[in-house]
């Protein structure tokens, strides 16, 4: 008997919005529950016990230590559905898809939901380290003089709240500053970045107008469409923006970088047998995945370059080249990130010295790249992006027809990258 195979049944997400806007009052748990509820409604899962729900958030409040389980308990799923929180920065929900697919392949579970959420609006605010130490001392103090001494050591400057940093702990650089170094190293031009950005917005706008997202998105809090999307953006409009990373000579702007986004997404992953028993559609099979990490700390490699390593290893293991794929989905953390990956794969030097290949991996056909738009236009609620991309790619493969193949690649903080292959059933 062959091992069971995991298939993607479908996905559901809320429309993504810019931080501090329509979802400003929604917590990460509200958003994640909304994404799950929509998925449950789409596939008639109310009252069902699933094998596992796996998901997470990047910006996470300590009260949300069991975020995914709490969202399951608040959803219409059977409360005896187990859940686990996992985290791999921006690759969180793609890693969740891999985790569930592996459990399905080993027969440990039959069904699961991979999901992710991020709300920059609900970001935990942390107190300064000095105030934290003082409060801990105050808590430990047993006598009134000791308590007063602890309180007396508080200085006004200690009271300023600390917003969560989006900087890499080991380098102190933001993700954009890191990418700016890579962008410069690969000589990625402003024009190329803006072109990719316009293409992303136009493709996402076309997909929305064609009804592609009708099966993938459920309105939430009165929002019916991705709000970061600018269908009318143009090279001229983007050219007017000032660089935000890489200094005055930099090429990266607010236009060709992803915006801080609130949103949640979920994808239903089950065994083929389970899908058949429950009369559910089978959009695409999960084939294989690879995670890579790079040493970015001392500048050995760019922070967001790990997918440039994960993808070639994944292709080699499966005996595939870019030409074997119908769709290639590369997460657009920044337009320059995608272009740096493409440049690396086209570089003889990079592929021979860094990847140990005998020649360059080759070019990606732009007609297959992010065909229905990606994070620049849709937005990027960190942990939700993997589930968004998985569900969208599965739907595209289903439409393309049996045997068609798709590749997903996501870069993540910490110098990591995750790639996965799906194939239409």
């Amino acid at each position: 008997m062959s091992a069971p195979r995991a298939v993607i049944v479908g996905g559901n997400r809320v429309p993504f919005v810019k931080m501090g806007t329509a979802y400003a009052k929604a917590s990460a748990q509200d958003l994640l529950t909304a994404a799950l509820d929509g998925l449950v409604a789409r596939y008639g899962l109310a009252g069902q016990r699933l094998g596992e729900v796996a998901g997470g958030a990047v910006l996470k409040h300590t009260r949300d230590f069991n975020l995914t389980r709490e969202a399951v308990l608040g959803s219409a799923l059977d409360p005896s559905t187990p859940a686990c929180d996992l985290a791999q920065a921006c690759a969180t929900s793609l890693e969740a898809v891999i985790y569930l697919s592996n459990k399905i392949a080993t027969g440990q579970i039959q069904s699961g939901i991979a999901c992710g959420v991020d709300s920059t609006s609900d970001a935990p605010i942390v107190v300064t380290e000095q105030l934290r130490q003082t409060l801990l001392a105050l808590n430990a103090a047993r006598t009134l003089p000791a308590k007063l001494a602890a309180l007396a050591s508080i200085r006004p400057a200690h009271l300023a709240p600390q917003a969560p940093a989006v900087t890499e702990p080991r380098t102190g650089l933001s993700m954009g500053e890191h990418q700016a170094l890579t962008t410069k190293a690969w000589g990625i031009t402003r024009e190329a970045q803006d072109e990719l950005t316009v293409a992303s917005h136009q493709a996402l706008a076309r997909a929305w107008s064609e009804g592609f997202f009708d099966e993938l998105v459920t309105p939430y809090l009165g929002v019916t469409i991705d709000k970061i999307l600018r269908p009318d953006t143009s090279m001229e409009k983007l050219a007017a923006l000032k660089p935000v990373f890489g200094g005055p000579e930099g090429t990266m702007t607010a236009g060709n970088s992803t915006a801080l986004t609130d949103g949640a997404a979920a994808v239903l992953v089950v065994s083929e047998e389970w899908a058949d028993i429950h009369h559910l559609p089978k959009l695409a099979r999960f084939v294989d995945a690879e995670v890579a990490a790079v040493d970015y700390v001392d500048g050995e490699e760019g922070l967001l370059m790990a997918p440039a390593y994960a993808v070639p290893r994944l292709l080699a293991r499966n005996g595939l080249t870019f030409d074997d794929f119908d769709f290639i989905e590369i997460h657009e953390a920044f337009a320059a990130t995608v272009l740096s990956h493409l440049a690396a794969w086209e570089s003889e030097e990079f592929c021979t010295t860094k990847l140990g290949l005998t020649h360059a991996l080759g070019a990606v056909d732009r007609a297959k790249l992010n065909v229905n738009g990606s994070s620049l236009a849709a937005g990027h609620p960190f942990a939700a992006t993997g589930a968004r991309m998985t569900a969208s790619l599965a739907a595209m493969l289903k439409a393309k027809g049996p045997g068609s193949k798709g590749l997903i690649s996501i870069c993540a903080a910490g110098g990591q990258g995750v790639a996965a292959i799906l194939e239409a059933v």
Binding site: K25, A26, S27, L73, G74, S75, A76, L221, G222
Partner: protein
């Protein structure tokens, strides 16, 4: 019954002050209930306020609003009727003893609603005189929600009134499995989002003036928190009957439990030791 169509949802604080200021000289049960239905049409729901309400009561923020939120929307019409000079009972001392509501279908926050409330069912109660506020909510002409809020005006029962209709069912006290910690400022938090600014929930002085040691939480907060505990297991169409047996002082720790039975749910909020019930509820899905 005359219709009084109000141009906008009345201001609860102003009506509460008016009702308090005109407490004396009200006729009591012999005065009869005002023969009017207060109506406000085409009411827009405030998403910001709903988000605050959901947070305070423990609901997840959804496009679908809770049945208790719909009650909150009609509450200003209750206080408006109570503030009228022809309303027979003085506001201080009137107790909310039970509540019943039916949600006919899920209502979205985007819907514009027509609200109506009237007072009815003057009846003899063993501790005074009872009456109901009967409320209805229509959306584009369709009845979507109905509520009945029973109050008790303590005092001497009046002769000649019909006996109060009693829900004869025995509400079981369900064994509590959860502990709820109600913070001291919960009354103020709920007052902000519900607009029920009755000082008995927000001011210790006012509570003491009415013979309570501390402030008490609004019965409708407890009711809402109980419904919120069912999350998505709550049916789309249902009736919920609630009995308030004892006020919950703030701050306090209470016990909550629920049990499924015959497609519905029994719920109870009790003292932590489980001996005395504060609020009992029964939820029954509507048969389609």
């Amino acid at each position: 019954m005359a219709l009084v169509v109000l141009p906008a949802v009345p201001d609860v604080k102003a009506d509460l002050l008016k009702a308090l200021g005109t407490s004396f000289g009200r006729k009591g049960a012999p005065g009869g209930l005002p023969e009017v239905t207060a109506v406000v049409r085409d009411v827009t729901q405030d998403r910001e306020r709903l988000a605050g309400y959901d947070r305070v009561c423990g609901f997840r923020l959804r496009d679908q609003v809770s049945a208790t939120w719909l009650h909150v929307l009609t509450f200003p019409l209750q206080t408006h009727l109570m503030a009228r000079r022809d309303f027979p009972f003085p506001l201080p001392g009137v107790l909310h003893v039970s509540n019943s509501m039916t949600q006919y279908r899920p209502v979205l926050v985007s819907e514009r609603l027509d609200l109506s409330v009237r007072a009815a069912d003057l009846a003899a109660h063993r501790r005074g005189v009872a009456f109901d506020f009967l409320a209805e909510i229509h959306s584009a002409g369709e009845l979507v929600w109905q509520g009945s809020t029973r109050y008790l005006a303590p005092g001497a029962p009046m002769d000649g009134l019909p006996p109060v209709s009693v829900d004869e069912r025995d509400f079981p006290v369900v064994e509590g499995t959860r502990v709820w910690r109600l913070p001291a400022d919960l009354g103020r938090q709920y007052a902000r989002v519900s607009k029920d600014a009755n000082p008995i929930h927000t001011s210790t002085l006012a509570a003491k003036a009415l013979g309570l040691p501390r402030t008490i939480i609004h019965g409708m907060w407890t009711h809402a928190a109980m419904l919120a505990a069912l999350d998505q297991r709550l049916p789309d169409a249902f009736t919920v009957d609630v009995r308030f047996t004892k006020p919950v002082l703030l701050p306090s720790k209470v016990r909550f439990g629920q049990r499924a039975e015959d497609g519905g749910w029994w719920q109870a909020v009790t003292t932590v030791d489980g001996l005395k019930p504060f609020v009992l509820a029964h939820i029954q899905p509507l048969k389609s």
